[in-house]
Amino acid sequence: MKLIYEKSVKGRIGYSLRKDEFEGSIEDFIPEYALSKTKKELPEVSEVDVVRHFTRLSKLNYGVDDGFYPLGSCTMKYNPKVNEYLATLDNFTQAHPFAHIEFVQGNLRLMFELEEALKEITGMDRFTLMPSAGAHGELVGVLIMRKYFEDQGKPRSKMLIPDSAHGTNPASSAMAGFKVVEVKSNAVGNVDLDDLKAKMDEDTAGIMLTNPNTVGLFERQIQEIAEVVHSKGGLLYYDGANLNALLGIVRPGDAGFDVVHLNLHKTFSTPHGSGGPGAGAVGVKKNLVEFLPSPLVCNCGKYFGLEEPRKSIGRVKAFFGNFTVLVKAYAWILSMGPQGLKEVSETSIINANYVLAKLKKYYRPAYDRFCMHECVLTGRDYKEYGVKTLDIAKRLIDYGFHPPTIYFPHFEPYAQETIMVEPTESEGKETIDEFINVMIKISEEAKTNPQLLKEAPHITYVSRPDEVKANREPVLVYKEK
């Protein structure tokens, strides 16, 4: 479809401004060395043009409200509409971050109460709500770990990360100046304890762990892992990507974790917004509180206020956190209540195991275990028909489903043909059944008509864009011919 630039008509107007009643012209105020000689060549369109443009663009997208979106590790659950409403209340959206503290008591209270709830849910002692995303939270977490060791006068240089981890873990560690040391998985998909013991030493800050891990399996030996890491003075970092499995069942803080980050846009149902904004709250145990980024919200007598942790790692963005995202997360917790939170995890675990039980014959998993809130299958058996997992994923689109996560984790036990399905608690059995049936149908198609898969999707506006070309001859902006 046309770009908005291709719809531009000279002189067309899409804006309104109050009358300019001031004297003088722009040259009177802006020095010649700075003033552009030409107007910037933005498009010229009417309001109708813009509305139709985005309405059409929207119809080229697929959201959770359009159907099943089983992206493993992404927790694409339903985003309640009331939360969207609450986040757009005027006094929230129009609040200036530099308004006096008396003006923003509501915002501070909300942040304070959300922090209390997150502490209770995770078993941690204090949270920062500053980070903008999971990876941002990771950076904060590992910077805290770094500073903790520096503060002890014994900086450490390495970070352990399981081979199945998200790419953000090693990338965040690298940003914080750590050397990444990979820990292997064992035959049942958990951390190889021997490998861990071999690699954990007193120059190692600790381990970044996702639990349930990215293969959807609970780290059975988490207590032993904690023991190994703590015995060397190290710290355990909890990547909260998969917390959706554990609400009210296990609290990371009770399982030996020292730092956790939570993706409020996963577990706590704030929408993904085509790739953000999210929020990556970071919680720590008592001994790490003084390293949290500044400022923190405190309930200081009469007012809610702000405080700076004594040895703070500093700021990681301007102002406060992604406030409107925080509103949605808190609203969700309040809607759920203690019992509801537990039901979230129970339901999502049952949903995922149901998918696993029904599909394991067709898409053989690497490990024969029950899974937690997501299951990892593979497309390895269809390679012989020339069908890649990518083709299976694309074919799902023709049946109205968003594909699951594929090719992650990208390592051997899965023959690198991973299919990671996370149904979340939102989905009803009949939707999941429909998905299962289609997956089985596709497994048939793969054998009988592989071409159908390789040319899929057939019903979308575009099909199989050429990523190699995009990469080789990058065209990143529109230029008039």
Partner: protein, 444 residues
């Protein structure tokens, strides 16, 4: 529970199909002594009506911001946001979608990224754009890291008139990398170019200048860029009030190498400071050192134009610890707002809007000077300016509140020497009448 579809009966049925007798069988991997045995002590469950009334009661503890017009900016600008933008943002296809990993189901997102890249290209002059990073501060920190990668050097020279919270953010990001940070003093509300000369050397990775600077001052960016290049350093311009780009020369034309900016002014609400939208712009030569998501044009299987995320080999999910950054989730939803905002205003509108900002702010400054309660040096500025006053802080606050105006930023918080100085921001939300009213109450 209304957000959980399956009923108890359905869950029982599914457990049976899985082949277990109870939920407990599924989680037997979890050691019993790790289990949380009691009920979580969180409030709820609230019915939707109770929830609304509870959250609204919290919201009401804030000032009535809908009625207030802020004279404070300092990196967060109250510009009018056309209703069209909220309408667009409320399309579920936009806000409930994920990062566009499946281009066939995300052309809306990808084309929007590409359009915003083009808008920012038109404003900055550069062709390599990262349209969405958390905010201007983190984007600036990423830009600094990028200059360190590009140059292999660890020394950075930063104007003291870079937004103080941006400076703090840079410091946090570079802390693990043994970086030397040098701050440039200012003079008459502009970065002191003479001082820079003494501070630069050949080990310097980058010279960081914000323009318009934290005091609203329009820097002679071209001169700074020249200076940076003389020492083999890169020139990084930070643009916090991006509306200024509608009027000011493109950074590229000023010899800048990289721009890091904040696009909040383009259709994003104040939101108490977030979510906002940082961006980066640079020349194509540097494109493979950029962090974050970039959309590119290509063709699909049938030769039709299509958009994809491109140059992905820079990213964490491909390159892990060797990636240019750990950026994963960005602030893409804002891109619909920015795209729509810049399209609605367009070439003429954005120019007129920026002009209004300039004229209104200059009008207020000159009228305040006339009252006799204010004084300040002359300097070129966009829509923010610094004045010193003989009014007591609480007197000024009270008078402004009485006419529903949020007071300007007291600078002493960040600049010890500036005891009675304030940073005023004036945007198009103020009519001439509004400004006259301000002058009237402050001029008493």
């Amino acid at each position: 529970m209304r957000y959980i579809s399956n009923t108890k009966e359905q869950l029982e049925e599914m457990l049976k199909e899985i082949g277990v007798s109870s939920f407990e069988d599924l989680i037997r991997d979890i050691p019993q002594d790790l289990r949380y045995k009691s009920n979580l002590k969180v409030k709820g469950p609230l019915s939707e009506e109770e929830l609304i009334s509870y959250i609204k009661s919290i919201e009401q503890e804030n000032a009535d911001f809908a009625l207030l017009k802020p004279l404070v900016g300092a990196g967060a600008y109250k510009h009018f946001v056309p209703s069209v933008i909220k309408t667009i943002l409320s399309r579920e296809e936009f806000y409930t979608a994920y990062t566009p990993y499946q281009p066939e189901l995300a052309q809306g997102t990808l084309q929007t990224m590409f359009e915003v890249q083009t808008h920012l290209s038109r404003l900055t002059g550069f062709d390599a754009i990262v349209p969405s990073i958390y905010d201007g501060a983190s984007a600036t920190a990423e830009a600094v890291l990028m200059t360190m990668r590009l140059s292999g050097k660890n020394r950075i020279v930063i104007s003291k008139l870079l937004h103080p919270q941006y400076i703090e953010t840079i410091k946090t990001y570079v802390a693990p990398h043994k970086t030397e940070i040098v701050e440039i003093p200012y003079n008459d509300n502009l970065t002191d170019i003479n001082a820079v000369k003494d501070l630069m050397n050949n080990d310097t990775a980058v010279l960081v200048i914000q323009s318009p600077n934290f005091f609203g001052g329009i820097e002679d960016v071209e001169a700074f860029s020249k200076l940076a290049h003389e020492y083999g350093a890169l020139s990084l311009q930070v643009v916090v009030e991006s509306l200024s780009l509608a009027l000011l020369k493109s950074p590229k034309d000023l010899g800048v190498d990289i721009v890091s900016g904040e696009a909040q002014s383009f259709g994003i609400d104040l939101n108490f400071g977030g979510p906002y939208n940082g961006y980066l712009a640079t020349k194509m030569d540097f494109v493979r050192q950029l962090p974050g998501r970039i959309a590119g044009e290509t063709v699909d299987r049938n030769g039709k134009r299509a958009f994809v995320m491109t140059l992905r080999s820079r990213e964490q999910d491909i390159k892990r610890e060797k990636a240019t950054s750990n950026l994963c989730t960005s602030h893409n939803l804002n891109l619909y707002a920015i795209d729509a905002y810049l399209s609605l205003f367009g070439k003429e509108g954005l120019y007129d809007l920026a002009t209004y900002n300039v004229k209104a702010s200059h009008y207020l400054r000159s009228r305040l000077l006339q009252t006799g309660h204010f004084k300040g040096v002359e300097y070129p500025f966009f829509n923010e300016f610094v004045l010193e006053t003989d009014l007591e802080e609480n007197v000024m606050s009270e008078r402004l509140k009485s006419i529903n105006v949020i007071p300007p930023l007291k600078l002493s918080t960040y600049f010890e020497g500036l005891v009675n100085s304030y940073l005023f921001a004036v945007t198009e939300v103020f009519s001439k009448d509004d400004l006259d009213r301000i002058v009237e109450v402050l001029g008493r």
